[in-house]
């Protein structure tokens, strides 16, 4: 757990709303943070190459500090196991910014 504001943090919510807050090293991806902390259903079969769609998340807060969606990511989002929504992203493409920020991520039950 980190002191809010001192460094970026990612709050993971499961579909029931249970929260887990994790400190995130700047430059790491939301997928990596989830894997390092054993959070949720994320499988990350391709290891972060944006080619498997098994790190699908819903961004609840902080979309504005996250990188924009690439065309490849948009295509890959057609292959998520859980429903694709407007705030669907692939965790491997969500690099945590250098400046302190709070990102809230909901992790679907299925990948």
């Amino acid at each position: 757990m980190s002191v809010a504001g001192a460094q970026p943090e990612v709050v993971f919510l499961d579909m029931a709303g249970q929260a887990t807050t994790c400190a995130a090293a700047p430059g790491s991806s939301v997928m990596q943070v989830a894997m390092q902390n054993g959070v949720g259903s994320i499988r990350a079969e391709c290891g972060g190459a944006c080619s498997c769609a098994t790190c699908h998340v819903y961004v609840v807060e902080g979309m504005q500090v996250l990188p924009e969606q690439s065309e490849v990511e948009q295509e890959m989002l057609d292959f998520t196991a859980a429903e694709r929504r407007d705030n669907s992203r692939l965790g491997c493409q969500l690099l945590v910014p250098a400046e302190p920020a709070r990102i809230v991520i909901q992790v679907p039950d299925e990948q």
Partner: protein, 463 residues
């Protein structure tokens, strides 16, 4: 039915094709094998060479195995989109993948990445994409390349899809062929057998057991044993005790033939006229897919193929009442389905090497049968019988390896085995480009139903 490469699965015929295929085999090997085939004595077992020689197995692999349709599983194993199973098809590893909700939405591919050849899947699984563990190339369940990460300029991703394997479904039984262009057209088999397999509920089956019987014997010895019941009385006491047909398929005496005759007639009257209680036979060949169904009573008032003759599960498919029928289906040369009223059995005979064959048996019950059906009671007869078959076939293989072995004569009770061996000799001769190149008229004979006195109407069920 569905095929990945329809509708031209019908192989072009003729000498040209045979010659092109025969060229796959080493010329020396080809010459030796043709000479050995030519001296094969009709009605006698094969020479040791055919049961042991690695070169023969290699020639079979290149010329014969690749054109066989072979059962690889059941549609219930991949119920959801993205579900996949990894199976061996002869010496290849394949993926069978569900890509849509429809019953026909299943495809099969070689388990080989089109990037640099890595295996894609290491086991059965599920996922919306198939992701290579090496460089994370990913493929849709339909086989197309999805991820194009760093794909070099000029490489068309549409040409980089997974390499397909032929797939045909018959009532939920998944059958594959490595080279569907060479394999015979499966459609006549599907048209003939699907209504009866569906009537037996094989399409709505749920797997309750699967067992593997690795057998240290050449695949032809395993099949030869499977096609005759001459050995049933000495080798299979349990099978003999529950199967009425052994009265004619396992022995030849007037009294038991008469008993079976009466049994068979009573059953025929009971099922009179049912379009689902007919027998069908296509001996098949290189151009026509061998198939058939052979229906008969279990006998002795038994309602199922069980130790006590009592049902072990609920009626399958569209059957309305227990009538004690056993329907024996042949799907190509190496796959079989046996169906009692309440359970069905899928058989796979898988050649693994010159001296190694795997027999896989899968037992199915109705998908809505109670959860507590007893797999051991259901599997009882074929489990006991197949363990015995493993033993006697391995003893057979050991003796065939001796310098003292000479081909021996098939008896009248082994006529199906004889017919199989004759088909083998004909087909291999043709595939090696020998003989006249013309398919011979005499093929695998129809199983005989009823009584041995009438050659066209006596029983010879696989056992």
């Amino acid at each position: 039915m569905s095929t990945t490469t329809p509708p031209d699965v019908q192989a072009a015929s003729g000498d040209c094709q045979a010659a092109a295929y025969a060229a796959r085999v080493d010329p020396q090997q080809r010459e030796t094998m043709l000479a050995m085939l030519e001296r094969q004595r009709p009605g006698w077992s094969l020479e040791q060479y055919f049961y042991r020689d690695p070169g023969v197995f290699e020639a079979e692999r290149k010329l014969w195995f690749n054109r066989q349709w072979m059962t690889v599983g059941h549609a219930s194993e991949i119920p959801k989109v993205g579900d996949r199973i990894v199976r061996r098809l002869f010496d290849e590893e394949i993926l069978v993948v569900r890509h849509g909700e429809g019953p026909e939405d299943i495809r099969a591919f070689f388990n080989v990445c089109t990037h640099r050849g890595s295996r894609l899947c290491t086991g059965d699984g599920s996922g919306r994409l198939i992701v290579c563990p090496y460089h994370a190339w990913s493929f849709r369940p339909t086989g197309e390349l999805q991820s194009r990460r760093e794909l070099p300029e000029g490489v068309d991703p549409d040409t980089m899809g997974l390499r397909p394997v032929g797939l045909v479904q018959v009532a939920g039984v998944l059958m594959c062929a490595l080279d569907p262009q060479q394999a015979p057209d499966p459609r006549p088999m599907v048209e003939a057998l699907e209504p009866m397999l569906r009537h037996q509920g094989v399409d709505r089956g749920r797997i309750v057991a699967r067992r593997h019987y690795p057998t240290g014997a050449n695949w032809k010895l395993v099949l030869e044993n499977f096609f005759e019941c001459y050995h049933c009385v000495p080798a299979h006491p349990e099978y003999t005790s529950v199967n009425g047909h052994v009265q004619v398929s396992g022995r030849r005496d007037e009294r038991s033939a008469q008993q079976w005759d009466e049994e068979f007639s009573r059953w025929q009257q009971q099922v009179d006229g049912s379009p689902f209680r007919q027998s069908v036979w296509e001996s098949g060949g290189l151009e026509r897919m061998s198939h058939g169904v052979h229906q008969k009573p279990i006998g002795g008032g038994r309602m199922s193929l069980t130790e006590d003759g009592k049902p072990v599960s609920t009626l399958m498919g569209d059957q309305q009442a227990f009538d004690g029928t056993e329907a024996g289906f042949r799907l190509g040369r190496l796959s079989f389905v046996g169906a009692a009223n309440d359970y069905a059995t899928m058989f796979q005979i898988i050649p693994r090497g010159p001296l190694e064959t795997e027999v896989v048996i899968t037992w199915l019950v109705a998908d809505d049968a109670p959860a507590d059906v007893d797999p051991d009671r259901i599997a009882w007869m074929w489990h006991v019988t197949t363990l015995q078959d493993k033993r006697i076939t391995e003893l057979n293989a050991a003796g065939v390896s001796s310098s003292a072995y000479r081909p021996g004569p098939y008896t009248a009770l082994e006529d199906q085995t004889d017919a199989f061996v004759q088909s083998y000799v004909q087909e291999m001769t043709q595939l090696l480009g020998g003989g006249s190149g013309e398919p011979q008229a005499a093929g695998w004979s129809a199983p005989r139903i009823g009584r041995y006195k009438d050659a066209a109407n006596a029983d010879a069920s696989p056992a």
